[in-house]
């Protein structure tokens, strides 16, 4: 099945029908869930990366900040994924033709790879090599804020 065929099948699935029939208010709730997830995720990323850059909370051990925010990062991502699916499924074909949907998807993949590799390495010890710490912070911030920016453009092109 082609990607377009898949998106077509998603939009015309029973689940899609069920979501479309929900109250109008439900769409607003999904949007609010999405923005809450975004704030949880981005703020946690900002907090740890400011520390990696040496620009904030410098008196705190890196590992403590990373451990404390880890749950928030993954809860934020889970909330984004669930609310995102509810927004996406009923309108899959609209997203298929939107280039920024695909940029966003690519950025998410890169950001997740960095999250599970570089970010993990840089926050594993309290004294990571400065180049690793600062490089990770710059890449991580650029990718996650890039996801947010691409997401915002999707709405304007739809």
């Amino acid at each position: 099945m082609s990607a377009q065929g898949l998106f077509d099948a998603i939009q015309h699935s029973a689940l899609s029908d069920a979501i479309s029939k929900l109250d109008h208010l439900f769409g607003a709730v999904a949007q609010l869930g999405h923005i809450t997830g975004l704030v949880l995720l981005l703020s946690s990323i900002v907090l740890v990366n400011l520390r990696l850059l040496g620009w904030g909370l410098t008196s705190q051990p890196i590992t403590r900040l990373a451990t404390s925010t880890n749950k928030l990062i993954w809860s934020g991502l889970a909330l984004l994924a669930v609310s995102g699916l509810f927004i996406f499924i009923p309108a899959a074909l609209i997203y298929y033709v939107n280039p920024f949907f695909w940029y966003k998807a690519e950025l998410i993949v890169f950001a997740l790879i960095v999250q599970l590799t570089l970010f993990r390495w840089a926050t594993r010890t309290d004294e990571p090599r400065p180049l690793l710490a600062k490089g990770t912070a710059v890449v991580s911030l650029a990718l996650w804020f890039g996801v947010g920016a691409a997401a915002r453009v999707i709405g304007f092109l739809n």
Binding site: L42, S43, R64, R152
Partner: protein, 165 residues
Amino acid sequence: MAILQFAQWANDSELGTYIRESLFAYPAIEGLHLLSLAFSVGLIVFTDLRLVGLFLKEVPASDLLKQLRPWVLGGFAVQLFTGVLLFFASAATVVTLPVFWLKLLVIFLAGVNVLWFELKWVRRVGDWTDQLVPPGGVRFAGWASLAFWSFVVISGRLIPYLSYK
């Protein structure tokens, strides 16, 4: 009424018209308004969670308050600036929405809460900065702040949602 006249003037001004009609300016400004939430409201939420004794308990509260302050204020500066620009772009519509006025009111209440917290508690932060669960007044300020800012984000998201109907 003066406010309606002002909104109409802002709406029809060169600046408002430019932003509204620009292909790039409007999405860029709205994107900044949204993403700077991570610095303003997001970092405040962390501080609030510390104040109510739920998060980063081992971190002295004064460390969080002091070291995050420039980033929080920087985030707010961006939000205020982009918010004013967004207001100009759709002033005539947003002033007719109750949710817009509610948002401004709750931002004001959040500001009053900050002022009270600063004057009453931050002045003697040394007395409670190391407490894992701070005194009742501090926790109250934390919960109030969490409630106010959640409301501000929700009402803010509803403004465009209700504008198009």
